[in-house]
Symmetry: C2
Subunit: 310 residues, 2 copies
């Protein structure tokens, strides 16, 4: 299965990059079931989606779609939208949490621009009592993102977290470095969904999964607070076993799901006393995110195909 | 899958009980791949099998096949064979462990006969520095077996363990009662492989599995030493996660496999630092044991079918 899964993922991401496909899907999005995975294009819709989730015992984290920003002006515009979202969160009940991609802040233009905008966003988050997660993008941005994170930690922005990807060879070392921070950091752990070369990432699904487990146990043992952001039910079960064995406090970990994925499992985990947070993507720039969801598993593509022909 | 698995198991056990099938299989056993699951009919062969396993880092537990003994004379003969096996173990290196079925000792004739023979066997085990497990058979014998076990514990036979089956409704209460024993008992935890009615046992595989997990965690948290005797790879992974989380000493649990089942996994677990014990059935009365292995999963039946035609 590992090999087939990997081939499927690579094929789908390659097709999604082709111009005609991109155009068709962007045009037909509404008919393709994008709303299954994207809570909305506009802020009021997604605030409403989060309230509905909260009614079911689920926490949320907002993610403004949009990536690979490459000019200072675009970064300023995107940063402005993020600040607007944070301001809108101020009056929302429950835990406020926002995820941002460092390239949205201008990391791809240069580090200093990314840092300046990251500080503005982190300050705003503090002002509205929200937490902020610096998301992780593809391999070229890992160093910069970790440096951003470390800088913000050193400047006292303790409400900022970041993400590690188990498909990268380097992540084990990155985790060990992050565990030296005191107080211990908050990290989201994902497998990784970008197309990466074998020079930097495991090609074999079994190795990605095993690395995920190793990072998970090492992170919790090392004192980090972890967001277990995977839909892998085996790993979720094992996490439950580990935290029960370790007698971990419920605030030391949480399960994180993408909006629309395995809603029944989300609720079962809440029922078993775990904190569950839903990653809510929103905005008009949903294409890259949507392709990665389809690449993740054939069942998601079938959902789209059924929508087209059904 | 749960429903299909259960239907398969029930159908196979029903067919295995039919006279003509029994006759054919008993006659053709050697051609049907019985030796995949039964280490041998005679003691020297199985001692040799255990030595081979020990060379691979695997411990063993001997199990003399034969069940549903219903006369005092047969119980005496079977007890004699068990004593002979224990005597033969005296000069074997490594951990010595023998499993016996209480009906082999005469529990099905009457409790006192079973207890007298169990004492003789337990004394012999102590003499040769072996441990002894009172195996668990079908539902009518559970009360008697637990009473035997409790009596032997009270008489100071601390090297005696017993078995709990997660498919029985009663097992949760039985575990709680056993956890009151001090020092805490050693227990093997299995799902259960006999054909039982829904009056006493879960019919739904998912419930049997969930109960297994509950019993496993409760048992380890309650201080028992557990033999995790299942081939369910999810549960094995979760056990690994639990014991890592809990930081349990390696002598508080072990994984147990039946001879011939998932040998690659057995070795991987040894490689990851766990103790693994192989249940080695031997003797001429292998029919009931063999049918239960085939009933366990279609892959085992396919192994036999390939042997017949291949």
């Amino acid at each position: 299965m590992g090999v087939i899964d990997d081939l499927y993922r690579r094929a789908l991401l390659a097709v999604a990059d082709a111009g005609p496909v991109t155009g068709f899907v962007k045009q037909q999005g509404r008919h393709l079931g994008v709303s299954r995975f994207v809570a909305g294009e506009r802020l009021p819709e997604v605030l409403e989606a989060a309230r509905t989730l909260r009614g079911e015992g689920l926490e949320s984290i907002f993610d403004l779609l949009g990536e690979f920003v490459d000019t200072e002006a675009d970064a300023a515009a995107m940063t402005g939208e993020i600040l607007t979202t944070l301001e809108a969160l101020r009056s929302e009940p429950g835990e406020r949490y926002m995820s941002v991609k460092p390239t949205q802040l201008g990391l791809g233009v240069n580090f200093d621009l990314g840092l300046r905008n990251a500080r503005r966003v982190a300050e705003k988050a503090r002002e509205v009592d929200a937490r902020l997660c610096l998301d992780m993008e593809n391999a070229p941005y890992v160093d910069g993102t970790l440096r951003l994170f470390r800088t913000l930690q050193d400047e006292g922005f303790r409400h900022v977290s970041t993400v590690l990807q188990s498909y990268l060879y380097r992540t084990k070392d990155d985790l060990n470095t992050l565990l030296e921070i005191s107080p211990k950091p908050t990290l989201r752990l994902v497998k990784g969904a970008y197309r990466e070369s074998e020079a930097v990432a495991f090609g074999d699904k079994a190795k990605v999964d095993q690395n995920y487990r190793d990072l998970l146990y090492r992170g919790l043992e090392g004192g980090a607070t972890l967001g277990i952001a995977t839909h892998d039910e085996s790993i979720i079960r094992e996490t439950e076993a580990f935290v029960r064995g370790a007698g971990l406090d419920a605030d030391r970990y949480e399960f994180q799901f993408l909006y629309g994925v395995k809603p029944a499992l989300q609720k079962r985990l809440v029922g078993r006393g775990h904190k569950v947070r839903i990653y809510i993507p929103y905005g008009s720039d949903w294409y890259g995110y949507f392709s990665r969801r389809l690449a993740e598993r054939p069942a998601n593509l079938m959902f789209v195909v059924r929508g087209l022909f059904g």
